[in-house]
Symmetry: D2
Subunit: 345 residues, 4 copies
């Protein structure tokens, strides 16, 4: 069985394991105050061209979202997101457990559009009894989205403009940010993202780390006391060096982007095979996730040799599957999958 069902099937990129082994007997203070964490933070600020940003290394994505959102909002405030947003669906109510309503806006492509944010805010503030409703006070987006789609530079500028107009901190969930940055359709650089967002995180778990997400806070007004929030959420790793070493490694010699480019390259080979075969795609993704729409027979055929995840059923009894690539995807496995698509579907 060759596995394409997600991008966290293996342990970690070998360089990361190697660095963990090399540093194992170093003695360092805990909780992220060690020199590796310090170095990782410095490297990330440099990559973002945001020297005054504050960087915090956390273990996981749901954790990062919960810490960030609870740090930013007052109790009566909610966070706007696309209804497909991870915080709205797949975090077991972590945001609500922190006391905040998620304010979902219907989205077809997984993206949140500036115009929709404006309508949401206008509706709120034009209502005479606005205090009877949750105040929209923050915007959450994912880049790439949960569907593999990408915000363009133009779209992110528009969103950021609306956010500033309504005093909404703009927060970008970058669980798969590397794959967005490495996509041929992408026109946004990491420094541009850092300049447009108030806060965002750079995902490590899905880009070759054992675990780890780097939260970058560029807006100085949101930086205060963030470590208290991390600790309160049980997210302050005792051996914080583990996060430091991993991000240090990822942000040295361009490893982070090398991993991502490889995975996107693999995914686009698969996309080409699917498209050439005439198999429709549920989302038009140019990142490491592909969402072909298969007949049941096609899905069964593919399942003989390949593992993938089921995304949803369509109204006409077809099935949308998800194929993921990563740093660990072998070119020969990709070739086998492409051959199977071409010859057997």
């Amino acid at each position: 069985m060759i596995r394409f069902e997600c991008d966290y099937l293996e342990g970690a990129h070998p360089l990361i394991l190697q660095r963990l082994a090399e540093t194992n007997m170093e003695q360092t203070p805990g909780y992220g105050t060690d020199i590796h964490s310090e170095n990782a933070r410095r490297l990330i600020c440099a990559a973002c061209k945001a020297p005054k940003a504050k960087v915090h290394l956390l273990v996981g994505g749901t954790q990062a979202n919960a810490v960030v959102i609870s740090s930013v909002l007052r109790p009566h405030q909610g966070v706007i997101c696309a209804d497909t947003g991870h915080i709205n669906i797949h975090e077991s109510g972590a945001i609500e457990a922190g006391g905040h309503k998620v304010l979902p806006i219907p989205s077809k492509d997984g993206k949140l559009h500036a115009a929709a944010v404006k309508v949401c805010c206008d509706n709120h503030y034009q209502d005479d009894s606005q205090e009877h409703m949750v105040q929209p006070a923050m915007v959450y987006i994912s880049q790439p989205t949960e569907n593999g789609t990408l915000y363009s530079k133009e779209e992110l500028h528009q969103l950021a403009a609306i956010c500033r107009e309504y005093s909404l901190p703009l927060y970008l969930d970058g669980a798969r940010l590397s794959y967005g940055l490495a996509s041929p359709k992408n026109d946004l650089s990491l420094p541009e993202i850092a300049a447009l967002c108030d806060i965002f995180y750079i995902g490590g778990t899905k880009t070759g780390a054992l675990f780890g997400e780097a939260v970058v806070i560029t807006n100085p007004a949101l930086q205060k006391d963030f470590r208290y929030l991390i600790k309160q959420h049980g997210a302050l790793l005792a051996k914080g060096r583990l996060l430091g070493i991993q991000f240090e490694t990822l942000f040295t010699d361009d490893l982070y982007m090398r991993i991502a480019r490889h995975a996107v390259d693999m995914a686009l080979q698969i996309k080409t095979a699917l498209t050439e075969k005439g198999i429709p795609l549920f989302y038009d993704s140019y990142t490491n996730q592909q969402f072909p729409i298969l007949t049941r027979a096609q899905a069964d055929t593919l399942a003989h040799d390949f593992a993938f995840s089921h995304w949803m059923h369509t109204a006409d009894e077809k099935t949308v599957i998800r194929l993921c690539t990563s740093w660990a995807t072998l070119p020969e496995h990709t070739a086998q999958l492409c051959n199977a698509i071409r010859s057997r579907l």
Copy 2:
């Protein structure tokens, strides 16, 4: 200006004020342990034919909803409701502040249908990664709904059956329950509601009380320690007797239903005038709220002499207004409104 914009414009029904005055110098213990509260609880149990139910008298509806829902749910659980439900829109995130996601289901008429609840639960429990999502664990409905529509006995039976199948406590928000019970379209008695729901509240604020909502817990499994929850929410009134005296009065000599029948009678006279005039109604309500769709000119004309509330704008630039009646609505004011509808719109 004759006012129809809501059902809580005045103080209280004169009998209630009179009883407050008559009992004013009685000395009673606090926090609902007085004889008037005891008597009110007994009268309500009798009216519900639920001798083992526990009744708690609270001050307001949002408060009652927050206390009830936080008492019933564990942290990972959410409450299903129609997307028009009061808890989803008009309670400033009170449910989320208690840690729980509201799980809204789209609804055209304000009602939640048993089939939709079943689909919601099946989708959840058939998902392999169900623990990544909020668990549906309670159902919230309003009777009448926020739109003035009513659940039939058949519909409530179906909902209750689904709720029992999936172990979901069924909670009914009766902020305007009296007007449902008094509606000519209603086929549900208070004892039937008590038998079908696990917990519900009987609204006083909108039926002639100064304030007050009586929470009735019929399911013994949900009765434990409820007073702690009331106190924790700041909802345990020091002079609890005030609630006791008011509900004692409402549930003596059928005052509660007499108030409601009068208000519904007034509202249906208005509905008849609107219908005869050919003015469309946004919801087909047989309770004390009416929702005519007016042209801007018609709304302006009416606004000369009558106060009403704006409900929403339609796509074709018309406006939906809300007209409410109550115990205090004078027959001559209703007649003037009907005349205006007939002669000036």
Copy 3:
């Protein structure tokens, strides 16, 4: 049985009931936007000589504390109080339910001293791992304290100075504020309290209202969006006029202070009788609560004709009782109690 067990045994001062009756048929908008509420807010600002303060009328004290504290603190922050503070003991965890730790400081007299606040903050900020601990970020005091003792002007100045030094909003719970203001030992005026505190509330429930506490926010930085918080806590009364009318009445013709002076006068007559009889007092209170230490035999004797509340047992098997007076305490009842103390204990 003549009752002295608390100061909320009866309904309301007759003038309040009279005003509720006189205004009963007025039609007003809801949620505190009516003219009576507006007028009450204006009268309270005037009494506080704080024209820019924002005043909000709430139903109860636990509710007021929960709304205020959740409005002021960020999630990682806690509120310092004396360990005898109401929020620490008698609010069923309302503050913790809002996510915040109460940081109690041991107190013998119910008061929180500036030096202790300073030590608490210094200990926190001098700790290398301060982010592992809850950040002290607000100070809660009661005036009079739960024990009937009073902060002097000097003490409140010292507290306010420390609070400003450490950026801690100073919040004063004035559930029985009237009785503090009316005490012969008091040297603090309402305008001085308003000038020294960032936020406080003026209690109505225990000073002749049916219910009601007026939250006064003098610090402009704490005024934003407060009504959302009120609504979220289920504390926005639909018929807000009821609060408006009551505080309007209390702050007209000095009724609020007339009630308090009467009650304190009654209490001090009792104190004199106790002292002359040689009965020790657990706290040296000059407000409407008195805490004599009785032998079991004395307590039994008194209980024949008088109701009081048991406060605690002492190590030497004596019992501390609480005697309370209010607007409704009759001089002849007080005289009977004093006679009983003098002749029968």
Copy 4:
């Protein structure tokens, strides 16, 4: 500089790193559903002789405490602990952020005694207004305590008996459980702990793992839906295998106890040196932490060559320091420290 300041200075025991490297390219499903996690859970159940227990592998201790406590308590309930308990002091209000008051009981040795729990519960339930106070509903202890002291079998039996009498789940925080089990003063086995506690966790972070704490739920009534709670707290590690592999390694060939015995052996050599030198110990610890009381001069002398942590200052201007050992403590380093104690202090 030879470091003794904590037990998480290095990476991980070499066997753990080796196993992570060996398994790195295995492809496994996420979120703890892999075979290594399954195997680890089986090994832990076997070590506890608790075949029906449910085991969940989490990343950190504060996280484990927050998940467990929020899973067990209803909103009005609090958790009893010694005032020195980690949840009371060093978790940044994580328990309160989940809505629950921590109910601290003063403790001199870091232990919670059965009699004190009984008094706490009796005081609560004998109070007429118990619903105005947080209900004690769970007991938290640490073994060893934060001070290095140990509960005896007799003490744990007494606690468990009181907990059952008052229906309080007994929860044991085993962040350093291994060092308790390995102490010569210990008379409690892991199966006995499993039988006496309703829920506990076995710490990995401080016993040679990179990170990881194994929560063991022996009481079936507390097992339901626990994974939802883990996910909601952001504690469901995507690559859950990392936890599985680590605990698999620790619970194979007795590694977990071998690590602990070594560390305790090193610590007791230090204790002997201190005692023989006549240096007083603040707590009488027989685990891997030692707390000598030094004069300032002694502390300065020791600090030339050894790192340790400052625990507190005593009233007589001495300083209590903490010395910790671990799997990584070298015998020659321990010998150097003992020599320094004997010859230079």
